[in-house]
């Protein structure tokens, strides 16, 4: 057994004494430097490194409109509106499709009131958020007021500004971009139930002229870190 301690053997003799002290000095110096940087210089970056970023998402809308007219008697009429991939290509996605059905009493028969018009968009064809609570797929009017139908095409799209937390800006931009939702042919079924002021042989109302305006809203999303 040695009578000298390990410490003595390492530090107190030989050519390597000074290099060893140099090693410990460098260790002390760099560890002090690290402590200083960690607790003062970089402390803000370090304390916030796991904080989630907040982003404001706003939508710039561009609309594409089309109009149809039809004279509908006591049978169903179907109209179509087609969205091409080309229409969508310049935008991040298609947000909404709005359909306005307008009509007035045109029979010219005295005391003839407004007919009953029913409009419906069947939930088939293009990919859309058909089940969204804001989608209005059917409507009826018997007082010549407009029937307004809305299809939320891009899931959860409202067109209003929103705030999201976490992720990266590119993640949100990707989440709000689709070249598939809305592409295809939407259909609109129209029914008219004509009513006359008196039974035959008085003049009878046999139908109604309807005008339909289709408005597709395309959007571009802007993501800004709050």
């Amino acid at each position: 057994m040695s009578e000298r301690s390990l410490f003595q053997d390492f530090i107190e003799e030989g050519d390597s004494r000074r290099p060893l002290l140099g090693l410990y000095a460098l260790v002390f110096l760099l560890m002090s430097y690290h402590m200083l940087v960690f607790t003062t210089v970089k402390v803000d970056d370090i304390t916030t490194k796991n904080d989630l970023s907040q982003f404001e998402l706003s939508f710039e809308e561009t609309t594409l409109s089309d109009a149809d007219e039809a004279y509908v008697q006591d049978q169903r009429v179907t109209m179509e509106f087609e969205v091409d991939a080309v229409d969508l290509a310049a935008h991040h996605g298609m947000g909404l499709l709005q359909v306005v059905v307008s009509y007035s009493e045109t029979s010219g028969i005295p005391f003839d009131g407004c007919d009953t018009v029913t409009a419906a968009i069947p939930p088939s064809g293009p990919s859309a958020d058909w089940g969204n609570m804001n989608s209005v797929l059917t409507g009826t009017s018997d007082d010549c007021s407009d029937i307004v139908l809305t299809v939320v095409v891009f899931p959860d799209y409202t067109g209003e500004m929103m705030s999201v937390v976490g992720g990266e800006a590119s993640d949100h931009e990707a989440a709000w971009a689709s070249q598939t939702h809305g592409v295809g042919t939407f259909t609109l079924d129209l029914d008219v139930s004509a009513s006359s002021p008196a039974p035959p042989p008085s003049p009878q109302d046999d139908g109604e002229a309807l005008s339909v305006t289709w408005t597709a809203s395309f959007f571009d999303v802007n993501v800004n870190e709050a």
């Binding site: 057994m1 260790v27 760099l30 690290h34 210089v41």
Partner: protein, 446 residues
């Protein structure tokens, strides 16, 4: 043939386990080892086996979390628990190894009892903290194994690399090389980070142990341990360059200069886009770089460095009787390591399969060719670590052979026991709960 970083991690893990088992097989039969070398050989074997199993679990966890996130009751908790528990064996094993190899620092039985008692207590503390649901916290003293091996092997290296005595030149050079190689094994991946530490880069200061589940105080302690290793590594690199200028370069010289140079090249890459070790992949330049450096160290360099130390410094039984078996095992390892190297390249640089198959053939042939030429040279190289040195550096301990067989049994049981604990943690949702607890008690929240 697999082509992603996950497969590389798995190959690295298998390689590590294989070398551990192989080392155990050959060292148990080696009659020519001093007490500290025998203890070191057994420790190295179990360190490698535990780390290999832990790395397999870590790979599974990384893949699961990337796909599903930290879901409640998720099997990721089993993987994370295993990885954490077996990493304790790795860390504690290296602490014990540093105390006995290449230079036994324990000079009396009393020293041994105090030192090993402290280390066993540290292991029990870590496990108890886990079982009590404290998560990864300060009381587990994260980074202590790094501090221990950095200070001990760093000191041994400097002491003996600069010992200028002709009669002990061979021994002191071998001791310094072993200390340097073992520190490279443990801390090589940290040395890539040195410019980030000095230049206050995010890729160093935002390092988090185990993803984002640790508190700032734990991260500070962990990074402090890294800083210590960087300081020791920089000093060693300086010493090696000095020795190089004096015409006394060793393999370690080139490796150290290579590691620190790679770290410098990585600085502009990683400052543009931070990528941590678990993010190695092909997503961007930073993750590719991480795959080629940190991942490469974990999966390739660690097993290869340890195999080199085991072979070069005579921990294997390479008697004429055992030599053919040793050679066969080494050839198998060379083939696996060579194919793993190609895996790494193929994972990061897409290439034609015909080309990669041909490249594999060439690399394997090269690997075996290297082995043929180098095996004898390695075995015949000087293993002397005591010649010319004062006897006080190598105190004798009367340790019976049966102690080592008991050690093997205990280590095997310990690994199984830790896997069982990890299983229970998964079943009781412990990691999920600890993760939330740990975040709640972070420095930031205070």
């Amino acid at each position: 043939m697999a082509t992603d970083p996950s497969s590389l991690r798995l190959i690295g893990a298998i390689l590590t386990i294989l070398i551990g088992c192989m080392a155990l097989f050959f060292t148990r039969r080696n009659e020519n080892l001093e007490w500290n070398e025998r203890l070191a050989a057994h420790l190295i074997s179990w360190i490698l086996i535990a780390k290999g199993i832990g790395n397999t679990a870590a790979d599974y966890t990384i893949r699961f979390l990337a796909e599903n996130g930290p879901v409640e009751q998720g099997v990721w908790q089993f993987g994370l628990g295993m990885s954490w528990m077996l990493d304790s064996i790795f860390g504690v094993g290296l602490m014990c190894l540093a105390l006995v190899f290449p230079l036994p620092l324990l000079r009396t039985p009393k020293h041994a009892k105090i030192a090993f008692g402290f280390i066993i207590g540290f292991l029990i503390l870590r496990v108890a903290a886990q079982l009590l649901g404290y998560g990864v916290t300060l009381i587990q003293v994260p980074g202590l194994p790094y501090v221990s091996s950095g200070l001990i092997w760093g000191s041994v290296y400097v002491k003996f690399r600069l010992m200028d005595e002709a009669r002990s030149e061979e021994s002191s050079r071998n001791i310094a090389n072993v200390a340097g190689m073992l520190l490279l094994f443990h801390a090589g991946h940290v040395w890539f980070l040195w410019p980030g530490m000095l230049l206050q880069a995010e890729y160093f200061y935002l390092i988090e142990m185990y993803g984002s589940i640790t508190s700032m105080s734990v991260d500070l302690l962990w990074q402090s341990a890294y800083t210590l290793l960087i300081a020791v590594g920089l000093f060693m690199c300086g010493v090696e360059v000095y020795q190089w200028t004096k015409g006394r370069a060793e393999i370690l010289t080139y490796i150290l200069v290579g590691y620190f140079s790679i770290g410098l090249v990585g600085y502009p890459i990683l400052t543009n886009e931070v990528a941590f070790w678990q993010e190695a992949g092909t997503q961007n330049l930073a993750t590719i770089w991480t795959g080629l450096t940190t991942s490469m160290h974990f999966n390739m360099m660690r097993p290869v460095v340890m195999m080199y130390v085991i072979l070069r410094y005579g921990l294997f039984d390479t008697s004429e009787d055992m030599k053919p078996k040793a050679k066969l095992m080494v050839i198998i390892l060379i083939v696996i390591a060579t194919s793993a190297l190609l895996e790494l390249v193929q994972a990061l640089v897409p290439m034609n399969e015909m080309f990669s198959a041909a490249a594999l053939g060439v690399l394997v042939a090269f690997g075996i060719g290297w082995e043929e030429r180098s095996f004898e040279r390695l075995l015949n190289a000087s293993k002397q670590m005591r010649k010319g040195l004062d006897a006080r550096w190598f105190p004798e301990f009367p340790i019976e052979r049966k102690f080592f067989f008991r050690l093997d049994r205990i280590m095997a049981i310990l690994i199984l026991f830790f896997i069982l604990i990890a299983f229970v943690q998964w079943q009781t949702n412990a990691w999920y709960d600890m993760l939330l607890l740990d975040r709640g008690s972070s420095w930031r929240a205070n």
